[in-house]
Symmetry: C2
Subunit: 432 residues, 2 copies
């Protein structure tokens, strides 16, 4: 019986080597796409001051902070999202930075909520943001990066029945409509946070929540009706032709057409996003089959965040792309690559007298760039071969006392059906 708790802290994950390989692969894809799009990676500490996340609109994310007071009585949190840290970095350098910036990051993010079955309290997230670029060219570029990544994974994004759909809306469309109902400013942001939850809590509860914000039943019904709007034409029918949100949606579709992914976009006004700071385009990426109800990724424009932090008005747009949902989807569809340990050679000294020469051989092979491990176990030959094959090694280099005396090494090729061995002079393996 162990005297320590063997499980990780509730809601957090252990990554054994066989688990970590998928994450490492995923991160490499994300970094490669970010590189192709010319984005620079940044990072901050997982600990941040809680002030960064204090908002009046009641965002769910900030009501579930993994927060605490440190020994110096600082009120800190394990970050729930990266965007406020990004804004802090940009604000701290101020005019010293030439905009626009194209930055990305792969932060681990935390939330603390009452346990729900299978819900974790941490996940990793691919963040890409453009700072200082107004206009939907930014949105189109970010979506193109998401498309490029998902194409790399082997998912089908061709016209016809693609695997993935981008549901896109614009808060300025919603905003115009709500202004007509007398809902503005802070109340607008709070209403957005509430109606974002409609899918989860249902229409009835949404109406009640809206009532708490002072929205009458009639207005609430109209809002819910608006959320059922899909397609550019229906959206266009709800607002004047010069509505900036509507214009942005049209421009976005044109750029997506040029970039070859317009067929993946569905205008859908039910997409709101739960973060109160979004001001323009908002989007969520879904499994098109509906088999996976949770969003794969989400993004949006947040042109006012910098001002609420006391900075100059700065157009910003970005997305977050979690590790959990996409890995589930890829795993279910058999699209995860087969990962191996990547060992090239196992050197096997048959006893301690051969350890030194085995070390020499291994050192030499590593300078050739090969991945080499030495089996010091002194186990029987069969067990050594089994372990080497299990580890995916391509060759076993055998060093017994006879071999060393004769100045050779027996090199056996592993993995094949027939036994292939050759004697290689030790001087060709860096010895002597």
């Amino acid at each position: 019986m162990s005297t320590i708790e063997l499980q990780p802290v509730k809601g957090t994950r252990d990554f054994y080597p066989e688990d970590l390989r998928a994450r490492t692969w995923l991160f490499a894809q994300w970094r490669e796409v970010a590189r192709q799009f010319g984005y620079e990676e940044y990072d901050v500490c997982v600990l941040e001051h809680v002030d960064l996340y204090i908002r009046k609109a009641g965002d769910e994310i900030t009501s579930q902070l993994y927060e605490f007071k440190d020994k110096g009585d600082r009120h800190v949190a394990l970050r729930p999202e990266m965007t406020p840290s990004l804004a802090r970095l940009v604000l701290a350098k101020g005019a010293a930075m030439a905009l626009p910036l194209r930055w990305f990051s792969l932060p681990q993010c935390f939330r603390y909520e009452q346990a729900q079955k299978g819900r974790k309290r941490e996940h990793y997230q691919w963040n890409m943001d453009i700072i200082g670029l107004p206009g939907v060219a930014g949105e189109a570029e970010l979506m193109a990066a998401q498309v490029a990544f998902l194409r790399r994974t082997g998912l089908n994004l061709e016209p016809g029945t693609p695997d993935i759909v981008w549901k896109v809306s614009n808060r300025q469309v919603i905003q115009f409509f709500l202004e007509g109902l007398g809902i503005t400013g802070e109340t607008f942001a709070a209403v957005c946070v509430v109606i974002d939850k409609r899918d989860k809590i249902g229409n009835e509860a949404t109406v009640i929540e809206l009532g708490k914000l002072g929205v009458g039943i009639e207005a609430a019904d109209k809002i819910i009706d608006l959320l059922n709007t899909t397609g550019l034409e229906q959206a266009a029918a709800k607002v004047p032709a010069d509505n900036p949100g509507l214009i942005a949606l049209k421009e976005l579709l044109a750029l997506a057409e040029a970039a070859g992914f317009a067929h993946l976009i569905k205008i859908d006004l039910s997409v709101i996003r739960g973060l109160s700071y979004y001001t323009g385009t908002v989007w969520e990426v879904f499994d098109a089959t509906g088999a996976m109800p949770r969003a794969i990724a989400g993004g949006g424009r947040y042109d006012k965040l910098m001002e609420t932090f006391g900075g100059q008005p700065t157009p910003m747009v970005g997305f977050g792309f979690g590790d959990v949902v996409i890995l589930e989807i890829l795993s279910e569809r058999g699209l995860l690559p087969t990962f191996s340990r990547g060992i090239d050679d196992v050197v096997f000294p048959m006893g301690p007298p051969e350890f030194a020469v085995a070390t020499r051989v291994a050192t030499f092979l590593r300078t050739q760039g090969r991945a080499v491990t030495v089996d010091y176990s002194g186990k029987r030959f069969k067990a050594v071969i089994e372990r080497a094959e299990k580890d995916g090694a391509k060759r076993l280099l055998i060093l017994g006392s006879n071999e060393v005396r004769d100045g050779v090494c027996v090199v056996r090729t592993l993995g094949g059906t027939e036994r292939k061995e050759e004697k290689v002079p030790l001087k060709d393996l860096g010895v002597g």
Copy 2:
């Protein structure tokens, strides 16, 4: 004036892109060396149960825990080191895992201590460990990996006046000596923790601290005298020839000789390591010039840790290699590579009507594996070129209304002294 705190949480670091590049490079070196040695990467969450770090011996690391109670009243900490988490992982799987394991990790580790000038509260650490291999072949292999990494950085490790030294001791030597003074068991571990601090606190304070553990002044003086022992011969004079620690040091030197780094090892009994769980070989890696007093890395054998956690006796050995000291050393010696943003092409649409075709061109170039950014700024030509050159781009692809009308793109080579431009048909750039 900003309304948020612009600084990161006290003692933590921001990594702007220009800062992160060095860390990314460092991590890539560490991962490559780990790969060459056949180690598998693992990871756990930065949050762990505090129980993992509770030790009776008064380890400094556990007296400086960045700890707190979470909302569920769990006593948790931001990990101060990775080894206990590693042991937890291995213990949780038990006999299901075929030993030995060769694992590595690149965790961020935290400590909370009263502020000292320039001391950070977090750092990253390269950890490599072998689980299930008794005998110093493990130590030799791990040191060889450290050597391989430091060689890659361009530091001089050749015989003569190498830049780096490995100071090596073995706790079984110290243990034999202390047993002679009646110091055993838990007290031995606590004494190790105290005498590890001698360099920092001086001989006098060490004697006082030892007194608190019940060690008399005469014995304390003898211990301090022992710590001044350097070289294998002097160490051999302190213990019987069959002392297992002494034998291990001799074997280690023989294997280091075979691996080509024996000239870098100095036997030095003042090396103790501040972690109470070490049981055998202990080592610290230093700047040989002494210009950098802090250790670059440290490691050791901890064959009893698994038992104190309630598991089966399991030989374990490993090292931790921090990011801060090595990057300082490499930076001071001019050994850090020059990092660039790595952008290949900047596509410049001269106005919004060209955004769509620019998107097409960028999309095409990215499918060729090139790193491409689009400059949507609409700025003057000079500013666009300056920004592209500042970003390290090799080519600027110019798309004005005339070019698009004529079905061409002006491609200018950047960075040279003379202006080199050519007109490339748009159909060769994926358009039309």
